[in-house]
Amino acid sequence: MRKPLLLALLLPLVACSANTTGTATTTSGGTAAPGKDSAAVGFIFVGPKDDYGYNQAAYQGSQEVAKAFPNLEVITAENVPEDDNAARVMNSMIAKGARIIFATSYGHLDAALKVAAEHPDVAVVQQGNLITTAVPANAGTFFGTVYEPVYLAGIAAGKATKSGKLGYVYAFPITQTIDNINAFELGAQSVNPAVKTYAVSTSSWCDPAKQAEAAANLLKQGVDVITQHQDCTATVIKATEAAGKFTVGYHADASAIAPKGWLTGSQWNWGPLYTDIVKTTLGGGFTGSKYNANFRVGYKTGENPFVQSPYGPMVDEATKSEIDKARELLKTGSPFAGPIKDQEGKIRIPEGTVPDYTTIEKIDYFVDGVVGTLPKA
């Protein structure tokens, strides 16, 4: 989900050269089940496969697919921009025999739908976004309920803070991020009602210098637990650790660089879900399956690909048992179970309502207790 400007300028060139064979693609009749008996599967990533974050986790998932299906060729492409070039890269994968495509970044959706429309015999699944129109027979989106482990981590933060101020460094106000910030605050509130979460945006998925400035300012304001939604995470964690404050991780277990202040965090485990999607599709059962929709998994189904990171040494047993209790509740409930108030104090989700995943993915306001303003679109 990271798109450095310069790479964005450079990559169209790479993508074009990779596409020379893509134009010759033929589509077989619409009768074949999409992706059935495909010889190859393609994965596109928006960033490098070794970013210690979102893209690395997705790449690892693709390698687990390779392990699970030794006869299947796994084609991967890194640094694929979130525009029409993504369609070209996917087309070149199709030309190489891939009839199952994973488009793993939020902004890859438009290109994925375009490719799906052009190739009815190819199953295209997109990670993290939401198809808002009718879902085509050969497409779907999937994601974990990332905000659930973030809610649990919020409990650890709410218990650990002494100042009652938590910090959240984020990139852009997309719904995924808004849900995470809200869930973090709600988790913290559940054990510490007066706690506030200060949200600071860097307007970039990875600009370490801006992250350093954000962390410095949050720490100066007395924030003593910092978490983030950034693609590269080391800068904020190191600044927090150097100040002797607490870290809640995101994307990966980074306790190695915060041995004292690490509380817990959330991290990805895509392997099982990717493998199951490929299995279903190879068998010809994609259309009409749960993956031929906006598929969301969470603690309700017990197969969330986003899992809680290990605890650090500062988390006491009482906190751990609070989190265990909350995890049980999430199996039937939601971090967003009503009543949920927005920053103006208006009730947005009434008492007694447990919103479904789609409703949660459309939340466009910060909840009461978050300090910060969402830019108006």
């Binding site: 450095p4 400007l5 310069l6 790479l7 450079l10 490098p48 070794d50 970013d51 210690y52 910090g167 200060y198 949200a199 600071v200 945006s201 860097t202 307007s203 970039s204 990875c206 600009d207 370490p208 210098a209 801006k210 992250q211 350093a212 400035e213 954000a214 410095a216 300012n217 949050l218 100066k220 304001q221 924030v223 590269c232 080391a234 800068t235 190191k238 600044a239 150097a242 190695a256 660089i257 300090v371 910060g372 303003t373 830019p375 108006k376």
Partner: protein, 301 residues
């Protein structure tokens, strides 16, 4: 309120330092008559070399030296091309920038997420206790303190030493040097390389003192900002220093406001540094060009 001002000014020094090193380097090159758009690339290779060597040797000072060497070496490519091969300065500079981006993306992957020792803030005894100014200026990392000396030193060197005179002459009237038996090409080349080394130090400061991390493309355009700064500072080192802090302040304003929960349009705040740059360039207009070194004006027009 005064507390907000202190935070923004402290952030201005924190964020402006890397830009200042790069802009002082660009000043050297341009005063000698060469525009180096590859400064962004020199910052990047400096950032990677600084971080990587700090990680390998355990010494951030060794990293800083490596950053200077790497930035200088990349600038040498630019120097050879434009001074001796007489290639177009703008096209070459951009290509050198992309070379730096490509090289660091290739060799940098191993250092993403890797731990390395860095420069930590050291409060200067006594001075750091001075109200307001102490916090703004004297609670930073050692490289920032070096930067306080760099601009005045460069100003003095350009103005009062024989070396400075030769460099300025290379930028104003290269023919005069010929007459006196000097080789203006050599002087220009040396100025470009030294400028690249300063940009490399800026990059190393960014990676080992400010962000404490290496990541692909982490300079995020700061090298280009440095180039535009030199123009609006009219090629004067002390104005470059002031301009770097102005830019640093514009970058520091958004997080300082947000951490207080003050709501302003985020996108407007992000555009602020660039709007300030444009505004100053617009106000100065052609006046900036009149201050340009004679030989440089030929490059521009």
């Amino acid at each position: 309120m005064s507390d907000l001002v202190v935070d923004v000014l402290t952030g201005a020094v924190r964020g402006g330092t890397a830009i200042m090193f790069a802009a002082l380097g660009e000043t050297l090159a341009e005063r000698a008559g060469v525009v180096n758009l590859g400064t962004e690339g020199s910052m990047l290779v400096g950032a990677l070399a600084g971080y990587a060597i700090a990680a390998e040797t355990g010494s951030p000072w060794a990293g800083l030296a490596a950053g200077a060497v790497a930035g200088g070496l990349l600038a040498l490519v630019h120097a050879v091309m434009v001074v001796w091969r007489r290639s177009d300065q703008f096209a070459t500079g951009l290509t050198v920038m992309f070379l730096g981006l490509g090289l660091t993306s290739l060799f940098g992957a191993a250092y993403v997420g890797r731990a390395a020792p860095g420069f930590d803030p050291v409060a200067v005894p006594l001075l750091s206790d001075v109200p307001l100014l102490g916090e703004i200026l004297f609670q930073h990392d050692p490289v920032t303190y070096l930067s306080f000396l760099a601009a005045p030193l460069l100003w003095w060197w350009l103005r009062s030493t024989r070396g400075g005179l030769l460099l300025r002459t290379a930028g104003e009237r290269a023919d005069v040097l010929h007459v006196h038996g000097y080789r203006p090409g050599l002087i220009r080349g040396a100025a470009v390389v030294a400028g690249g080394a300063l940009a490399g130090i800026g990059g190393a400061q960014l990676a080992t003192a400010y962000a404490h991390a290496w990541f692909e493309g982490m300079t995020a355009g700061r090298g280009f900002i440095a180039v535009s700064l030199v123009i609006f500072a009219a090629w004067r080192p002390l104005w470059v220093m002031a301009g770097s802090y102005l830019f640093g302040a514009a970058l520091a304003l958004a997080p300082a406001l947000q951490a207080r929960g003050i709501s302003l349009n985020q996108f407007a705040l992000d555009a602020l540094p660039f709007l300030i740059t444009l505004a100053i360039l617009a106000i100065l207009g052609r006046r900036t060009l009149r201050a340009a070194p004679e030989e440089l004006r030929r490059v521009f027009t």
